[in-house]
């Protein structure tokens, strides 16, 4: 207990403390309100019947459109949000459903859409390319393979779930 707090210091701290208390009382609710989306949990897993039987799936990727329920704040699209999957059988005969979202910067890839790059997934934004098994072609912008949707087979029909976390 050596240093003495001067009257001026004491008053400064008291005043500053009071002002800080008032300001935080005003600002806390607003900041919490603004960051709420960061703290909210995502929707649970939902598997969607995409109206495709297993034997319709070939080794050639085909684009499958399906809709998932989506609540975008106050906006709930009627009929849900439209998503696309590239569905195929891999070399082992297992069903694979690739997400069409490019791993470079999120544009949409297409199968075999550029005559220059036959039998590849191609992203037109920055010429990102992936082989048929989803692996990114070295030397093109993407740094990792295409994401895969979780899939289930029920009664011989394909169900598509959320994107698998890498």
């Amino acid at each position: 207990m050596g240093k003495k707090v001067s009257r001026r210091k004491f008053l400064t701290y008291t005043l500053g403390g009071t002002a800080g208390f008032l300001a935080s009382g005003v600002l806390f609710p607003m900041v919490r309100f603004a960051v709420d989306p960061v703290l909210k949990r995502g929707a649970g897993e939902q598997y969607v019947d995409v109206n495709l039987t297993i034997d319709q799936i070939t080794e050639t990727p085909r684009s499958v459109e399906f809709t998932v329920h989506r609540e975008d704040g106050w906006y709930v699209p009627e009929g849900g949000e439209k998503l696309t999957a590239w569905v195929m059988k891999d070399d082992n005969g297992d069903v694979v459903a690739f997400s069409p979202i490019c791993k470079h910067l999120g544009c949409t890839v297409n199968w075999d859409s550029n005559p220059q790059f036959k039998n590849e997934f191609f992203c037109p934004c920055h010429f990102g390319r992936y082989y048929k098994d989803g692996t990114n072609v070295p030397g093109t912008p993407p740094t990792s393979p295409l994401d895969r949707y979780k899939t289930k087979v029920e009664n011989g029909k394909l169900l598509i779930g959320p994107v698998e976390k890498a």
Partner: protein
């Protein structure tokens, strides 16, 4: 640490004289509640400004979620009020603060009136204060429509009809306010623009003038 940062900036930008000039001024004894408790009536102007600051802050945050469109306006207000953490509080601050600011402004006006502070040489600041009053009423009127519920809709109908009774100019004022023939999509869009851009800009300009004048002319003397 903080002091070191401040000193570093001050050495280069010489900011001390700027805030000294804003902050250091004499508070005469007759307006200091520590000397005469009844002097608290001199706080109403500052309190009005404090509430206005809260209005601006809470309004900025509400604008992160609000959508000025007749399809989504009510849904977005409903969402931010009921689905977001602290939504009811932030909207509550803006809702109640709107009324409190008018009340404080009115009390401040009464104090200026009964202490005769509007007299020469401060007439012009009284005029600016009145302009601030009208801008604040405008903010209240335009903000009232934004939730786009029944109360908002019919309050605006009534307000527009009253404006329409102005001789000669009435119909023009009404269609200007409505942005069309009815209170509808275009009304909501322009009330939003008035509420968040035009009127706050006018308010800040007028407040600046109000504060500069009070510093130039000083606080009026004791009764």
């Amino acid at each position: 640490m903080l002091k070191a940062i401040y000193d570093w900036v001050d050495e280069r930008l010489d900011i001390t004289p700027i805030w000294r000039d804003v902050a250091d001024h004499e508070v005469p004894e007759h307006v200091n509640p520590a000397h005469h408790f009844s002097a608290f009536i001199y706080c109403f102007g500052g309190l009005t400004f404090f509430v206005v600051v809260i209005q601006i802050l809470s309004g900025m945050f509400l604008a992160m979620y609000y959508v000025p469109d007749i399809v989504n306006a009510h849904a977005s207000v409903n969402y931010l009020q009921n689905k977001l953490a602290m939504g009811a509080i932030v909207r509550g601050m803006h809702h109640w603060g709107a009324s409190v600011s008018i009340v404080m402004l009115f009390l401040h006006t009464l104090r200026v009136f009964f202490t005769g502070s509007y007299k020469h040489p401060r007439e012009f600041n009284w005029v600016i204060g009145m302009l601030i009053f009208f801008v604040m009423l405008g903010l209240g009127f335009t903000g009232y429509l934004l939730p786009w519920d029944n109360k908002a809709y019919f309050a605006t109908k009534v307000g527009v009809e009253i404006a329409a009774t102005v001789p000669f100019l009435g119909p023009y004022i009404a269609s200007f306010l409505q942005g069309g023939d009815i209170v509808g999509a275009q009304t909501l869009a322009r009330f939003f623009a008035l509420h968040v851009f035009f009127l706050p800009a006018a308010l800040l300009g007028l407040l600046g003038a109000h504060f500069i004048l009070i510093r130039r002319q000083g606080i009026s003397g004791p009764l």
